[in-house]
């Protein structure tokens, strides 16, 4: 079976600078044909600029953009086999829905467009609305028109610039599934820009996390979530507990670390920082990986698990789980999410507890970076939704 890879998007060393400000640092990225690829990052991280360079709406300061074998860096937007779904939808207000969708076909000189447009409107379930003007439709319907208007041209790549940003939460969820369905159905490469980590994880096969004009980490949603390699990724995707620790010794593929007065174990393969004895690393663990045991039952904790003692400072019941904040000597605000299966009535604020988790769920990061990068409090990060972390 041969594939022409015509839908591969290859960015080689592209960058964009405005005066002395570098919006995008030289970056290499390959989006394989037929994949659903997400560029995730806070506003101002350069993700939209990257997208616009693929569309041709922005000229790269350096580097090249290729679609399959074709170098399109110098092609104007109307000559690229690429279409965009804009954040504001940018539907033509003077044309009805039918003509909006037919626009691309007509510009390419295709005479009989009726059949194609009707089919496309059916795909996005808007057949009834064909003769209405954009302002007569709801936000969700306008969004679907924008998708239909781009998809009808059978582009090699469909670019989506925060397409769900203007919708309310419920509609956004519905459209996420809808877009995923359409992508599977048409098999076109989708490049999706979003600041919503949950959206990126639900929809995309591959996610590139961008920060300050650079790609921090690239991988599948599970890979990024389970094995973050920087504190930015660890905090931006879900929530992480990070502890500063000192490398004590190494044995049998595991690193033993000293944190406070206790010891923690970390598989060497899950440490992205160079771990030399005596050096420092950041130890991370996701809140839902941790078990909580009351101090009275500390003896029941199986051996071989990482353990930390502390005192509960706050609890909040959110239905599917209960979230605890635990004050410990190594980390003042340790977050723990416990599934509501068997609730221990003794776990109330003020109770002494033992936190324990499997060493396999521990990850290690370079200590020479900010603990708070990518958290809700740090600059530029808009929303970090907690729910996605409970998986």
């Amino acid at each position: 079976m041969t594939k022409d890879h015509g839908g591969d998007v290859r960015l080689s060393g592209i960058s964009k600078t405005y005066g002395s400000f570098a919006a995008v640092h030289p970056l290499d990225l390959t989006v394989p044909e037929g994949s659903f690829f997400a560029l995730l990052g806070a506003s101002g991280c350069g993700k939209t600029t990257t997208l616009r360079m693929i569309a041709g709406l922005e000229e790269p300061s350096s580097g090249t953009v290729s679609l399959g074998e074709q170098d399109v860096t110098r092609l104007p937007p109307h000559k690229r086999p690429v279409n965009t779904v804009f954040q504001s939808y940018a539907l033509f207000p003077h044309l009805d829905i039918f003509e909006n969708v037919a626009f691309g076909l007509r510009r390419r000189g295709i005479r009989s467009v009726t059949k194609q447009v009707d089919e496309m409107l059916d795909l996005v379930q808007l057949g009834e609305q064909a003769r209405k003007k954009p302002h007569q439709l709801s936000g969700g319907q306008q969004q679907r028109v924008a998708v239909a208007r781009a998809l009808i041209n059978r582009p090699k790549v469909l670019l989506l610039d925060e397409p769900l940003g203007a919708l309310d939460l419920k509609l956004r969820r519905q459209m996420q599934l809808e877009l995923k369905r359409i992508q599977t159905e048409v098999g076109i490469t989708f490049v999706h820009v979003t600041h919503d980590q949950e959206e990126a994880m639900t929809m995309a096969d591959t996610v590139a996390v961008m920060n300050a004009g650079r790609v921090e980490q690239l991988g599948s949603p599970t890979d990024l979530y389970e094995n973050p390699r920087t504190t930015f990724v660890a905090n931006f995707l879900g929530t992480s507990n990070l502890i500063e620790a000192e490398v004590d010794s190494k044995s049998g593929g595991a690193i033993v670390l000293k944190a406070g007065d206790g010891k923690l174990s970390l598989p060497e393969a899950r440490c992205s920082a160079p771990a030399t004895t005596g050096g420092r690393v950041l130890v991370g663990v996701r809140p839902e990986k941790i078990s909580l045991t009351h101090a009275d039952d500390a003896g029941d904790v199986p051996v071989g698990r990482n353990r930390i003692t502390g005192k509960i400072t706050a609890t909040s019941f959110i239905g599917v789980s209960t979230q605890y904040v635990v004050d410990s000597s190594v980390c003042p605000e340790f977050a723990v999410y416990v599934q509501n299966i068997d609730r221990d009535p003794r776990l109330v604020p003020g109770a002494d507890v033992v936190l324990h988790w499997s060493p396999a769920h521990t990850f290690g990061l370079d200590a020479a970076q900010s603990l708070l990068a990518g958290t809700a409090g740090s600059a530029g990060v808009e929303t970090v939704e907690e729910e996605a972390a409970v998986r």
């Binding site: 041709g56 104007p76 109307h78 965009t84 033509f92 207000p93 003077h94 510009r107 209405k132 041209n153």
Partner: protein, 266 residues
């Protein structure tokens, strides 16, 4: 007592009708007197009903000639001012250039300056250039003062236009020309049309600047002014009424089109 309450309740309507009456009364008088058959040379007193003037609107020497000149002037001035004004408006909104701020404020000068001052300085300019006063000098003057009104009208529209619409068009295989014709122009059209109508009306009834720059050419407002010294032919009322009716028809047509668009809503 009951009357007082009734008045209170309908105060807004009464005020509205009074204002409307104030605006329309002169037009009604013009229309009524277009059916008059005056005894002397002045059409100021109602005598008897007659349609003579309506059946022979060009019966007064020079009237239809001046009307034709005014219509031609207005048409050309509208065209010139609309094309130039639209381009200026786009340039001011879309591009950043060195003298942008200065152009932005200078363009309003013709609106702010007393017309008679501008008329006098234009005359000085034309005389110094040795230009032959007439149709072309009037046209140049009209385009000049209509320009700022067109710029204001179009600029307001272009400023509210989402630049993403043009990006979307380029993204959907429309080249630069197609993007302009298919997207930019239709969306800016209401602003351009408003500017053009304004320019037409301003040019058609301008008297002061025209009077200074006309030489021996006589436009319709100048004809009316001139004849008012000697007597007012009924035909002037006929032309005035006809212009009014045409304008009202334009407005009605616009309302019908707009109404039909609205009714398409679910």
């Amino acid at each position: 007592m009951a009357l007082l309450r009734w008045t209170k309740r309908h105060l807004v309507v009464i005020a509205g009708l009074l204002t409307l009456g104030y605006l329309l009364l002169p037009n009604i008088v013009v229309t009524v007197f277009s059916f008059n058959e005056p005894k002397g040379r002045f059409n100021y007193e109602w005598q008897t009903f007659s349609t003579d003037a309506w059946t022979d609107p060009c019966g007064v020497a020079g009237l239809c000639g001046s009307l034709s000149i005014s219509l031609q002037l207005a048409a050309w001035a509208t065209l010139g001012a609309t094309v130039l004004g639209t381009m200026i408006a786009f340039a001011l909104v879309r591009y950043r250039f060195r003298a942008r701020g200065a152009v932005n404020s200078l363009i309003f000068l013709p609106m702010a300056m007393p017309e008679v001052v501008m008329a006098a300085s234009l005359l000085t300019l034309f005389l110094n250039l040795g230009a032959q006063l007439g149709f072309w000098t009037i046209l140049i003057a009209h385009i000049m003062f209509c320009l700022s009104f067109v710029v204001v009208a179009v600029k307001a529209r272009v400023m509210s236009m989402d630049p993403r619409l043009e990006e979307a068009a380029r993204d959907l295989y429309a080249g630069p020309v197609q993007t302009f014709v298919r997207v930019t122009l239709p969306i800016a059209a209401p602003g351009i049309a408003a500017g053009a109508l304004l320019a037409f009306a301003l040019s058609f009834d301008d008297f002061i600047i025209t009077n200074f720059t006309a030489g021996s050419t006589v436009t319709f407002p100048m004809f009316v002014w001139g004849s008012a010294q000697r007597g007012t032919p009924v035909q002037i009322n006929v032309i005035g009424t006809a212009m009014f009716v045409v304008a009202v028809l334009f407005v009605l047509a616009g309302m019908v089109v707009g109404g039909r668009r609205k009714r398409q809503k679910p």
